[in-house]
């Protein structure tokens, strides 16, 4: 356990150092993969909660006065990665407005350690990340929204009064504009 903690903290420090160097993207990726793979062999739990759809579904129906932005994404989905900074920005800017971003990751299990964790760490993602791991997609996709064909990026914005589903990507301005329809 101590070893693990040590490895973990080394990883954080190491990743922090690399981040400052900036542009050497490939180096970061390779180094991180080397560090993380031995952990995966020991079956160390992934850092994020993993849900099947039944366990995940309450996240789509919280009734606590907040406005939730639920974004479905994966590290292999280029447009998802492109819009990620906008969700992060909105999450940090709007925390006072009772707005919360939840990033629902759809990576495959073999990518959780090798791609998802390094990505979240490298980018310093602050929004909550959860993993939805349920292969019965034809059953659960319509439960998220009947309009959803299954493409990502896809985003659900909802609060107690209003609920809208978007099977598309967002710019920061577009996301802000949509969100304003919920919090005014």
């Amino acid at each position: 356990m101590k070893k693990l903690l040590l490895l973990g903290s080394m990883l954080v420090v190491f990743a922090g150092c690399l981040e400052k160097k900036g542009q050497k993207k490939d180096d970061v990726k390779n180094t991180e993969n080397e560090l993380i793979e031995p952990k995966a062999d020991k079956k160390v739990e992934v850092k994020f909660p993993v849900y099947d759809f039944d366990a995940f579904e309450p996240i789509l129906h919280k009734d606590d006065g907040k406005t939730y932005i639920v974004n479905f994404w994966a590290t292999w989905c280029q447009p998802c990665i492109e819009e990620m900074p906008h969700f992060e920005r909105v999450n940090s800017e709007r925390s006072d407005n009772n707005v919360e971003v939840i990033l629902v990751n759809l990576d495959m299990p073999n990518m959780w350690k090798t791609r998802l964790e390094p990505y979240v760490e490298k980018k310093g993602i602050q929004s909550q990340v959860v993993i939805l791991d349920d292969p019965k997609q034809n059953d659960w996709i319509p439960k998220v929204s009947k309009e959803w064909g299954g493409g990502i990026p896809a985003t659900l914005i909802y609060n107690t009064e209003k609920r809208t589903f978007y099977e598309r990507g967002f710019t920061y301005e577009e996301l802000k504009e949509e969100l304003n329809k919920f919090i005014n």
Binding site: W76, Q78, P79, P135, Q137, N138, P142, E167, R168
Partner: protein, 210 residues
Amino acid sequence: MKNLRILRWAPPLLLFVAAFAVGFKAATEHNLDKGYQVGDMAADFSLKNVDGQMVSLSNFKNAKGFLVIFTCNTCPYAQAYEDRIIELDAKYKPQGVPVVAIMPNNPSAKPGDSFAKMKERAAEKGFTFPYLLDKGQQVYPEYGATRTPHVFLLEKKSSGNEVVYIGAIDDNYRDAAQVEERFVENAVDAMLAGNEINPKTTKAIGCGIK
């Protein structure tokens, strides 16, 4: 009082929002809206195969139908289904329903899906079916494919090739051994037996087409 005023404005406002939403949807998701629905007649195409030959549905004189599958090299979901697509072709080509795979991505946006890479992948995996490049990206919007892999089962009739099933291959991308419902196999079997296909459409997560 304030509530009442809001109520009075609600219907026209809703209409306005709805109209806006419809317009917006039409503008951003034209592929979805214009694509084929079950019951539509699918247009033929002429696309270049990895062997250099041009392929059209009309080349298959004795086919009873087609499994037109939009797939690509780079998408993890498409990769997860490659072996199952090969198996579908092995099972149904002898029964008159061959697989015709179309790679819909723009190779300049996705270099891993270039024609050269398609050739490599087809050779590596031993594809037994045509693997066609949707050059100019004309065909996938017509079909309304939105992701890879995305299956369109066509039944050849005297009036043309009718779309009879649209959707996923089965209900478990992750593990072929864990599959409970083989959507495509059930659809082809029902089509060949002259039975009602159920379900006619299914949904799955896939990689957006670029």
